[in-house]
Amino acid sequence: MRQSFPMDSALGVVFALGGAAILQQALAMQTLPGMNVGPGLFPSIVGAGMAIMGVALTIQGWIVRDTPEDEAQPLVTWFAVGIVVALAVTTLAMPYLGFLVAGTIFSVVIVLMSGGKWLPAIIFSPIASAGIYYLFMSGFRVPLPRGILG
């Protein structure tokens, strides 16, 4: 498959730029009095390494760009995006709604998205959320957000 710009090279450019940014930040860190090495030394090494390897990946991706590869499934699927959005919304809402409510709604959404039916979703979700909630709250003393049911 011929691409105008290979994916690996694109990723390599991202890594190279990221490495350069890390390097730039790390070099700005100050050495503390009485130390010949500062907190910026190790990050500089990592940043430089990442920049070099990023360039290497860009070149490598370019060299092998004509090699055919097993076509993977498309990267951006509505399902993957849906999972991310559902997780993000749940994370935002949980401190206000509490784990029980937010977790139940989230669970219903995920079951439906994954091709489940309404009935199992409605039965399963509250039970799963409550089970996990009480297991962690009383069993492991993890203070999950109580929210509106607190």
Binding site: L32, P33, G34, M35, Y96, L97, V101, R141, P143, G147, I148, G150
Partner: protein
Amino acid sequence: MTHLKTLAGALALSVLAIAPAAAQYPDHAINLIVPWAAGGGTDATGRIIATLLEKELGQPINVINRTGGGGIVGHTEISYSPPDGYTLGVITTELSMYHWTGVSPLNYENYEPIALFNADPEAVFVRTDGPSIEDLLSEIRANPGSVKASGANLGGMAHLGWAGVLVTNEIDPAAAPWVPSEGASASLQLLASGAISVVTTTMPDARPMVDAGEVKPLIVAANERVAAAPDVPTAEEALGNKWAAYAWRGIAAPKGLPEDVKARLAEAMDKVVNSQEFKDFMAQRNFGIDYRDAAGFEAFLKDADESIGKALQAVGLAK
């Protein structure tokens, strides 16, 4: 969906409205924030306090390790928590240092001190076949830079303890450079493996290695000899210059705690610290008990803040 949200909102408001009708403190579980990792000395003492305090107050106490940033994350979280008595914390020596070194504006005024329960002096250790304290200091004077010391992070209590020994004996702290490490056990390992020459840390932290015959204490930076090692001289006895550096731990709440809650907690802590179980635990682990009530702890913190500020300035770490 929107209906559900409106309903939920209304429900939340009504719950909020009822909430302030508080019953007798405490009526539900209390969180105790420990700013250091599970397994360390602060965690161990925090957990025993939690267990005993649970009995006194009749409500469960959850120990939460909020680690990171040399204790800053946990300390900050304690100071930010609502001052309702349901979030307490163990505060430690490092609190007196943050604002001096400029890493965080936190200081003792952000807290409501409840009780100090532990203080241990820093002691100086060398390998069992190592030199005496006098020989060690003359070596540093003769060959600056040849002796390397460690104990914990840069600018921590262990570092100050060592710098103080040097400064009180008129040696430039740079003549025996500090090698920062993750903590006492890492430093003791460096000492035992022969990579460095000196470690400063507290007696309980070094106990196993002393018993193993790998390292020995030379002096303890304390006002008087410690019960855990009665034959180790104080800095003043050995060198003629007074120098004391204590690492401490205490219980505190966020600033603005209601007076009645504070009184209840102080009373409970008084019983806990004076209980036989607590004394046995501390003695077994070689921790020194230094109990001060709320007022005493506040005065102690004020003192510590000043003296540590001076010491940090002497080492050149204060901003």
